[in-house]
């Protein structure tokens, strides 16, 4: 029991109480206003910043993934387009070749036909000329014969007859 009597730290004194109240209140005011509030705000802001940075990173990652998928899609589309175009080109080429072939054939046929007609015409013309030539020749022959005939009747006659025979044989 005596121990408590001499235990002066447990005897509250008005002086120490007033001083500690004063000091704590001033400490509280100063440290709260000039340190704890700005620090708490800075910490909160930093946490928000970190959170938003992480969120941004996440969305960016998602966007990147989306973009990649889109790119791949575009690429696939382009590839498809390309093969389609190639396919079409091939078809067109074949078609053109076929058409060209047909046209050429047609043209050739036409040329051949023309040539044939020409040949026919030429042949006819040639025949006609030949006939004319022959006619002229026959006439000159006839003339000569006539001239010879005029020199001797019997001979002329015999000659005319052979000539005529010859002509008939032709």
């Amino acid at each position: 029991m005596i121990s408590l009597v001499t235990f002066t730290p447990f005897q509250p004194t008005p002086g120490l109480a007033i001083w500690s109240l004063l000091i704590f209140l001033i400490f509280w005011y100063l440290v709260a206003k000039f340190a704890f509030k700005p620090i708490a705000e800075a910490l909160e802001k930093r946490e928000e910043d970190i959170q938003s940075a992480m969120d941004t990173a996440k969305t960016t990652r998602e966007e990147m993934a989306n973009m990649k998928a889109e790119n791949e899609k575009l690429l696939a589309e382009a590839r498809e387009e390309r093969s389609k175009i190639i396919q079409e080109a091939k078809e067109i080429k074949n078609q053109m070749i076929t058409e060209a072939k047909e046209k050429a054939k047609e043209e050739a046929n036409k040329i051949v036909a023309n040539a044939m007609t020409e040949i026919e015409n030429q042949k006819r013309a040639a025949f006609a000329e030949v006939k004319n030539e022959i006619g002229v020749m026959a006439l000159s022959i006839a003339e000569k014969v006539i001239k010879k005939e005029l020199q001797g009747d019997a001979n002329q006659e015999a000659f005319v007859n052979t000539l005529v025979k010859d002509i008939h044989l032709n």
Partner: protein, 405 residues
């Protein structure tokens, strides 16, 4: 984690009982150079003082502000010319310094004016109303004059009470509070500037030291106990936490006076009363409703609960006050007692062998105790803060209708 903290709290509470055992030796109290009395020495070292002694070599005089029926006396405690055991060689205006504390001569015949050389002190015990009480006398010209201790607010329960004067001096504890507060303000201002200057940088230096503690108070104390409106009360909680922690740790520094600020009931009383006022001023209808008219129980129980709750209202700050002061004082006494083993084993300096054995025993025990006290410094600051947060949280809690009462 929680369990460990509770074990530590129990451990530190148990120290209070150990201390009582030590204190029982302090009955015999011879003045001056008699037998070593560990209890009295420990109490002397953890008491507040009007002179700041470092290592019994440097004695820094402190301002004395005293009020008696003769008016105010303001002077430096250097006037007392304190020597060994912080006993003053002089009296000034009727005041003397004994064991670092100021006393006033209460008996007629002593010259109450000016500086007077005195011859020493005497100590006896008186039994008043079944309680023994320390009584001190000053020797002056072969006569003994009874001394009055300073006025204390314990109303006689702890051996104090109103006397002929009041002591408003800047004591060792006040100086320590001012120094620690200034240091903390400087430290936190530094950190705040860092945060303002480079908000996007990782914490470094003083930020790295303080940030985990600040975040701990915010995330483990303020948010769980107060909830969404924690921002308003966070500066108060942080102030309480760091004020107590800083003073606890300052008292742990060896050779710098081993000040026992947070172990003084005056300081914890102020903090506890402040918490009491704040939490009750904040109290809403819901809070008072649960104290005076507990909903959901029969009327007789309501009356019974109101009695219990009103008692609890005052017991809360009382325990807050006693827990902190008890723990810190107990730690100081335990360390001083272990150091005192050297003197006990050495028979107060008469036996060298005993002193060596005492030293060998004392060093590991003191080191162990200081480690424990380091943890206690944090735990008690944390406990005080967490209880403050829980009282504020209870006071401002909004009723949640889904909860069954």
């Amino acid at each position: 984690m929680r369990n460990r903290i509770f074990i530590l709290i129990l451990l530190s509470l148990s120290l209070v009982f150990r201390v009582d055992a030590h204190e029982d030796h302090s009955v015999v109290h011879e003045e001056g150079h008699g037998k070593f009395d560990p209890g009295a020495t420990a109490i002397h070292h953890i008491s507040d003082a009007n002179v700041y002694s470092i290592l019994d070599a440097v004695r820094i005089p402190l301002p004395m502000i005293l009020k008696s029926d003769q008016g105010w006396d303001i002077f430096s405690s250097g006037k007392f010319a304190a020597g060994a055991h912080e006993d003053g060689a002089n009296a000034f205006n009727g005041y003397v310094l004994h064991h670092g504390s100021v006393y006033r001569v209460a008996e007629a015949g002593f010259p109450m004016e000016g500086l007077i050389a005195i011859d020493g002190f005497k100590h006896t015990e008186e039994v008043v109303g079944g309680k023994s009480k320390d009584v001190y006398f000053v020797n002056y010209q072969n006569k003994e004059y009874r001394l009055d201790a300073r006025t204390t607010l314990d109303g006689g329960i702890l051996g104090g009470g109103f006397t002929s004067f009041m002591d408003f001096s800047i004591t060792k504890n006040v100086v320590s509070m001012i120094l620690v507060s200034l240091f903390l303000i400087w430290l936190f201002r530094l950190a705040a500037k860092r945060y303002a200057a480079s908000p996007d940088k990782a914490p470094r230096g003083v930020q790295g030291l303080l940030e985990p503690l600040i975040l701990f108070v915010r995330d483990e104390v303020a948010i769980p106990f107060i909830g969404a409106r924690y921002r308003t009360y966070l500066p108060l909680l942080l102030s309480i936490f760091f004020f107590i922690l800083g003073l606890n740790l300052w008292g742990q520094v060896p050779f710098l006076g081993s000040v026992n600020v947070t172990g003084s009931l005056s300081v914890t009383l102020v903090l506890a009363v402040l918490v009491f006022i704040i939490s009750n001023v904040l109290g809403n209808k819901h809070y008072w409703g649960h104290i005076f008219w507990m909903p959901g129980v029969p009327v007789p129980i309501k009356i019974l609960l109101a009695c219990v709750e009103v008692m609890a209202l005052f017991i809360k700050p009382l325990t807050l006050m006693l827990r902190l002061a008890g723990n810190i004082s107990a730690g100081h006494i335990a360390i001083l007692s272990f150091v005192g083993l050297i003197f006990i084993f050495g028979n107060s300096g008469e036996s060298l062998g005993g002193s060596l054995v005492g030293t060998a025993v004392s060093i590991p025990l003191t080191m162990f105790m200081m480690t424990i006290e380091l943890i206690v410094a944090f735990v008690q600051a944390f406990v005080f803060t967490i209880l403050t947060a829980s009282y504020i949280g209870a006071a401002i809690e909004e009723p949640h209708h889904e909860a069954a009462h």
